[in-house]
Symmetry: C4
Subunit: 288 residues, 4 copies
């Protein structure tokens, strides 16, 4: 979910494309800032329209208004998408980037809805475009927090993957077990359904649309719940350990905390000498 | 939820307002303490009355008693509110403070109930006034724990906000997806309802009043549950890392806490000798 | 839930009471060990009888057998209780201790069942007597872990109490809000019921026996779920921070790690000098 | 769930058994790698067949195809199992190992299904054989993460056991309490069922198939939920504390890692100079 950086799409050297790039992708100029704010407002209104459109009482009364609004925003965002493509040096990189895909998905469903009417609600994937907000409003501090979260998750990625694959195997085996024990007459009508049930159980969601009825099934379910409850500790432990470690080296984390000689950062809070080259470290900016 | 400090509302210099202030806002004098205890008792009884009033069997039998009690407490707290307003130097600051708003909300619903009868139960917001208890009974230690919690949450505020906004976007997109996949015939009658369902799923609450019925819907729901389960690690990680750091550091965090002889820092809060070289440690700058 | 220590109940100096004490309360002698094992077996069998008795199909067929077994174990444990009371120096202290209360509750329901038949199932509170197992089988290591858990919880007691009281207030206010918004026609029939619902929601249990039906109610419920989800981080953070801190000072925790001069323990893992008196610390028993 | 190491099953010194061992148990040779990949593909396809077979619409149409596939894979894995047994020096150790049992359970249900038709779905326990994937594809890094997880869990094993046994006692007592309070007419038809309900409540799963209906029952249930919610912190705290400690310590934990000049220990794993005095650190005893 880490939205990609958009600074490497290639800034055109000069001409109208350069000006378009500055307005569309950057927010240093007044025009760029106005454009960004306009787009944010348009996204919010268009998502509100989609949500309101799904409410039967409202949509049946204002059919025409909703249709007009949907086409207005779709054409607006389509024009914006084309403008983004033509104003970068490496359009293909933009198209394949996280935001490029989100921008495309924000307009496609309306066109697809001509063929498959029920899909048009999917255009509210455009709400993901708001992730750009962090950049637009120069919420640098927020972005830092954000990156810190992203880094902690990224650093735990492999651990989480291994954990998830083991969970999936366990869920498949336990789901099958319940399918055999309870059978279709108690709602466990096939293995995919039983696996769905096993996931609701082990994640402690517990919808209750399918529940074991036999004593054996309930015993196995109880064991599963206790396992799931305890296992929840694992991803939490992974992320927390990562974050605690990151926070523990907090003081020297900023650029000022880097060693002046060899450039290594991430020293412990009470470090006075670089752990890499032994040079004296700069004093921290002030005791917090 | 951090209740504001009430010491900056302006203590009148002398006269009856000063005496009223000492009784109402402070608890140093016997009168002040008696007043505080009386108010706490009144809050508890009045909340009990509201709760009991909502139980059909009791309220129909004792209609008059409940009505009398409600008006008695409402008038009592109204008088108290007016007394609080007139006895501080900066009444406006009090009115806009956390407790000022809670105190007002504690009496308003009874008056509103003359116009909108069903709202009168809302007066049990007055239970929040009990937050003052921590101050009233001089539970200084408790307040310290409380502030520590508040600080840890406040320090994680930005991280939590960023996290929450991303969760909200994800929930909106996934809710819409299920609305498209399942449709109104399976209970996902519009996008707000689907988003409500997505929230119950991703937070692992899982009421089960709305559940996916199609295989595709159940597959997406399973993925959501696993995401929600793993994501729960994030706020926990944030708060835990913050708390671990706070607990581990203690008094000697600043550079002044380093040992003069060997220079080691990061001593425990109650250390008097360096754990590394045994030299006497400098006194902490002031007991926090 | 921390079971009390039973070593301060007063060991009789000599005579038959001393011998009884050694058999009943201690497990140093062969007789004492045999007695303990017999009691553990009796507890397990008697609990199994109670559980089996509650299953309609079995109990109706073996009514007499179950009744006989229940009275047999009740009389056995009653005799044991009396023996425990008479064989300690301070019987009153035993009666009021954690185990004294549990031992009494293990026999009372059978007698009460003569007056109130349905209460007899409560005698399986006697399963709590198994907590003594940790001591009986000299699972010293297990007990240490256990005490460590207990200490971490005890150290966080105040923080958890403050947290819980705030949660209770929030739950009361939110439950009332839903009662006003949804009303008795959607299952929120009175404030106690609404508070029960609010607890199921905020703890992410989500039974689904009562669920909001209106859009406003669902919106408030969604906010509550997100709050509850995030708030779960708080008790976890409290306990984890406590445990991390305790584990961090792990190496020197055993008695050998105490300072020989002043007796202070709990030094940091890399400490070489006592933080309290500056004396040199003994070497750790071996690098783990 | 930690899959055992398979390197101690005894590698035959020479001959056809040595070659068979190299192909079947190792993946150093091209033939060994091809064999491993073939088996992984066979497992995936066979599990997919079992899952698809459970879906009524598909299985009734392709009865013969599914039966043929099931027997094909069962015979294939049976031959593989026999080959594994005969090609190791210590066949008995293999048979009793984690993978030996999984390999056997992967074929047994098909044979058993001749006698008990409904059990055949259990053969998808063969998905557990995929745990070998980590070794097969030389995902050494992944395996390391995996072992780290396993070690953290193993180190917390005793603490978790103690915790679990206390939880089980509490669940039994509380389940009985609800059985007495609510009784069979509200779904709590016997103690095992009530204990099942207590587990769903305390683990915050909350299916909602059984729920308290009386006010007293709901009050007790609310207390249980709050307990369960808070208690969730305990396993999380245990695992997190273990993981934080492991992550924070690294190579230099032992005394040998102390700085020779100032004596400070606890350096980061990649430190080459003392963070306190800047002196060069001794080399770690061996890169783990």
């Amino acid at each position: 979910m880490t939205p990609g950086d958009e600074s490497d799409l290639g800034r055109p050297p000069a001409g109208w494309r350069r000006r378009a790039y500055e307005v569309i992708f950057e927010s240093e100029t007044p025009a760029g800032r106005a454009f960004d704010k306009f787009i944010v407002a348009a996204i919010l209104v268009s998502v509100a329209v989609v949500v309101a459109d799904s409410v039967q009482e409202w949509s049946s009364r204002n059919r025409r208004l909703f249709d007009a609004a949907e086409w207005f925003f779709t054409i607006l965002f389509t024009v914006e998408y084309i403008a983004r493509v033509v104003s970068v040096e490496k359009p293909w990189r933009y198209v394949r980037s996280f935001y490029g895909i989100v921008d495309l998905l924000s307009v496609l469903p309306t066109y697809l809805a001509i063929l498959f009417p029920e899909t048009h609600a999917l255009i509210d994937v455009r709400v993901l475009r708001l992730l750009r907000v962090f950049r637009i409003f120069r919420l640098t501090q927020y972005v830092e927090e954000y990156q810190m979260l992203g880094e902690a998750l990224a650093a735990s990625r492999r651990k989480i993957l291994v954990f998830l694959s083991v969970v999936l195997m366990v869920v498949l085996v336990l789901g099958t077990l319940l399918y055999v024990v309870e059978g279709p007459e108690h709602g466990f009508k096939n293995i995919p359904t039983s696996v769905y049930w096993a996931v609701t159980t082990i994640t402690t969601v517990g919808f209750g649309d399918i529940t074991p009825k036999t004593d054996v099934g309930r015993f196995i379910a109880s064991v599963m719940m206790l396992i799931g409850w305890g296992t929840l500790a694992v991803p939490t432990g992974i992320v927390t350990a990562e974050m605690t470690a990151r926070r523990g080296i907090g003081v020297f984390r900023s650029r000022a905390g880097r060693c002046d000689k060899c450039g290594v950062g991430g020293h412990q809070a009470d470090a006075r000498f670089c752990r890499n080259c032994g040079a004296s470290l700069p004093e921290p900016a002030g005791a917090e």
